[in-house]
Amino acid sequence: MAKSNKPIIWGTFAAGGELVSLITPVLIVLTLLAAMGFVPEMLGYEKLHAYASHWFGKLVIFVVLFLSLWSQAHRLRITFFDFGVRADTLVATTVYSIAALCSVATAVYLFRF
């Protein structure tokens, strides 16, 4: 029995899980406020655009989105299994592809600033 390659994903899952646990609730609060019509100052176009244009902002946005994507993709894969979807290879390919695609998209969008 060969050693598993799952650590490659699990590494991002663990790191992503930590990050998501720490900041996702507050991020949701921010967009929830926006959704209710009280757009926080930082979510205004000017500010946010400026932030995304700075290299540091780009880095932060990329790391947050990247880790969040991969950690949730991994957990989603397990969730499918737990709900009885046994086509694990198919599920894994799909969710990881989406995560990969979205990661590339993130990078591409960030380049546009």
Binding site: V20, P25, L27, V29, T31, M36, G84
Partner: protein, 130 residues
């Protein structure tokens, strides 16, 4: 005349109804659907932001749909649940030995809560909410 071990089948789709503990676990796993969708919403926001002010305003307007508000409320609840479950078990992965004993779980978990509160406050402050 002899052995015939009876195999106990586990229902692959309904097993988690059996124990409250399993339901709690599934609730934790299901958070990934909400957080996952939320991440994609953030990505869409980023895309709109890169496309210019009009597009971005459109995105903010779309957020105001009732459906989006409902989603946000659920996503917030699930992500909080995710955070708490994560903090509570965090001490298990990396036990810290101090002399003969281990750092108590409550300290490691408590540390996470403290960081979480501070970070959240900082982000709220930075975003101009408080």
């Amino acid at each position: 005349m002899s052995r015939r071990p009876y195999i106990q089948e586990v229902s692959p789709t309904a097993w988690f109804f059996k124990r409250p503990r399993y339901m709690r676990y599934m609730a934790r796993e299901v958070t990934s659907i909400f957080i996952g969708i939320y991440t994609i919403i953030m990505l869409v926001g980023l895309a709109r932001l890169s496309e210019g002010q009009a597009q971005y305003e459109g995105f903010l307007a779309a957020l105001r749909q009732p459906l989006s508000i409902v989603f946000h409320v659920f996503a917030l609840a699930f992500s909080l649940y995710n955070s708490f479950t994560w903090f509570n078990v965090a001490p298990k992965a990396l036990p810290i030995q101090v002399g003969e004993g281990f750092m108590p779980d409550s300290v490691v978990a408590g540390g996470h809560y403290v960081v979480w509160v501070l970070l959240s406050l900082f982000i709220l402050f930075w975003a101009g909410v408080i």
